[in-house]
């Protein structure tokens, strides 16, 4: 089986400071990869490089495109990369405000990606938006409300609906549950897990919350100071951490 994403030697410096160095992994279709580490460990830098938002100094990111098979997304032209990012890719931001248009209604937010890939039938766009709002448990009668009128959890669910409406194959998530209270987090995780299974999505989730990766991720990468210090199956890494930093991380989780 061809990996959906092959990452080779991704290195990014901010001037003299290291963002991340020599990161490599394969992601197979339907697989969810978690990236954990403390603040400043290079998680978000790595995610930005993979999603084409940052330009790495070295390395390649091969994505298995529908048309031409594996291609280096970093060598693609910008129109091609932006096309990918509105069709086959999705990016869920930590803050819903970064991923939504706050001045546009919920339906418009969900419909934007459809219209961006050429949908020009209002009725179809509207019914797809309604369908997706239902899937993320936002009531139908909120479709014409703006996200500013939504709670934090609803905004985050709306962001997910907006991203998944074009049926992407790869989802990048940056702290998707950050800033939400635990019961809302639990429902969001439940929803994400359901969608990932149902749609057979591959996902890369960056988080510092070990419970989130335990629940969602099949495999785990632990980062520290821009390096990957440990990787493996999620349960294996969390239950039997080998690297000193991972041991520290696992033992630092507060027990209720």
């Amino acid at each position: 089986m061809t990996p959906l994403l092959q990452v080779r030697g991704i290195t990014k410096y901010y001037g003299a400071r290291l963002g991340c160095r020599d990161v490599a992994f394969d992601l197979y279709p339907g697989e969810v990869m978690g990236i954990v580490g403390e603040s400043g460990s290079g998680k978000s830098t790595l995610l930005g490089c993979l999603a084409g938002q940052l330009e790495p100094d070295a390395g390649e990111v091969l994505f298995d495109t529908r048309a031409d098979g594996p291609r280096d997304t970093l060598a693609m032209s910008e129109p091609e990369r932006r096309m990918l990012s509105r069709t086959d890719w999705a990016f869920v931001h930590q803050h819903a405000r970064d991923g939504l248009r706050m001045g546009v209604s919920a339906g418009g937010n969900v419909g934007e990606r459809l219209m961006a890939v050429g949908a020009r039938h209002y009725g179809d766009i509207r019914s797809q938006a309604t369908d997706w709002l239902g899937r993320v448990e936002i009531p139908d009668d909120r479709i014409d409300d703006r996200p500013t009128a939504f709670s934090g959890g609803m905004q985050q669910r709306l962001q997910i609906a907006r991203n998944l409406v074009t049926g992407p194959r790869l989802v990048f998530m940056d702290e998707p549950t950050g800033g939400l209270d635990v019961s809302v987090q639990a429902r969001l995780l439940d929803l994400l897990r359901g969608l990932v299974r149902e749609m057979g999505l591959s996902a890369i989730i960056v988080t510092h919350d070990l419970a989130v990766v335990r629940l969602l991720a099949d495999r785990l990468m632990v980062m520290k100071d821009g390096h990957v210090v440990e990787s493996g199956l999620t349960d294996q890494v969390l239950d039997d951490p080998q690297h000193g930093y991972t041991q520290l991380l696992v033992s630092s989780v507060l027990q209720v």
Binding site: E78, P79, R82, S105, G107, G108, M115, H121, Y122, I143
Partner: protein, 290 residues
């Protein structure tokens, strides 16, 4: 002979503006940046249109200015006088007789011809501006042809009002490529943009942009398959000349609900009245006088 250089601007400035115009004509709908000059009028009063007119005027031209279709409003009169004084060109109020027509917010009702130039005053040239405030981003969207956002605006209209409620500055796509703001003309005028024999030039002075439509351009108003574009106007004949095909202004005549609809294009209305066409209210008034 006036003490001004012909048409106020110096020759080098006019050359710079002409280069921008030619580039605009070569890439229809593309917003060409230009070094807009201070003009002796405030921004928002047509500084862009005036500069484009100044750069296209020749001593042989006959110049006409309309403001919302009318020849006799402050804006139109002062711009017309400005060029009468600084360029010494002939002026006219007749659409057919003019070679250059500067317009604010209307396209004349009378059909234009190949030897005419229509100059629009544009307040905000960027159709995506209210959806995406960053200029760097909108330029990228134009260059990569990412126009999904424009439809998001129309979608919002339908979801809130049941129909596309945008009534003026209705976005168009030019030659299947650039999405363009036609300046705040009513959408009634949008069909006249397409396949027009005259050259159409758009000048935005404050925003420092010039764009253009060469003659007989393909201009399509954006819409949805199930909510097609519709040119709309007040459903009423003109009360002065009886015209049913022209764009109308509603005029409140007293404080007891009296009102009349009149052609916004004054030259068109006057011409029709001279030909003997009579609208309902004018007929009633003449009867009362007789």
């Amino acid at each position: 002979m006036s003490d001004y250089n012909f048409a106020y601007l110096d020759e080098q400035t006019k050359r710079m503006i002409r280069r921008a115009i030619l580039k605009g004509l070569a890439v229809p709908g593309y917003q060409v940046p230009f070094a807009s000059r201070e003009m002796p009028m405030p921004y928002g009063w047509g500084t862009g249109g005036v500069q484009v007119s100044a750069a296209t005027l020749t001593p042989e031209d006959r110049f006409k200015v309309i403001d919302q279709g009318a020849d006799d409003t402050t804006n139109a009169v002062s711009i017309r006088k400005f060029f009468e004084r600084t360029a010494g060109v002939e002026v006219t109020e007749e659409t057919e007789a003019a070679t250059i027509i500067q317009t604010r917010h209307r396209i004349p009702e009378a059909p234009l011809s190949e030897d005419q130039i229509l100059v629009y005053q544009v307040p905000i040239p960027e159709p995506l501006r209210f959806l995406e405030p960053r200029e760097t981003e909108t330029r990228k969207m134009h260059s990569l042809e990412e126009y999904g956002l424009m439809h998001v605006k129309l979608y919002e209209d339908i979801s809130q009002h049941g129909a596309i409620a945008t009534a003026y500055a209705y976005p168009v796509k030019v030659e299947g490529r650039y999405v363009m703001d036609p300046s705040p003309i009513p959408k009634f005028d949008n069909p006249k943009l397409a396949d027009c024999p005259a050259i159409q030039l758009f000048g935005a002075g404050r925003e420092q942009r010039i764009y253009a439509l060469p003659p007989y351009s393909d201009v399509v108003s954006l819409d949805f398959e199930d909510h097609p574009f519709e040119a709309s106007k007040a459903d009423h004949p003109c009360d002065l000349c009886g015209a049913r095909d022209s764009y109308l202004d509603e005029v409140i005549t007293d404080d007891r609900g009296g009102r009349m609809f009149v052609c916004s294009d004054t030259d068109y209305c006057r011409t029709r009245q001279a030909q003997g066409h009579l609208g309902a209210q004018l007929a009633a008034k003449q009867e009362g006088a007789a």
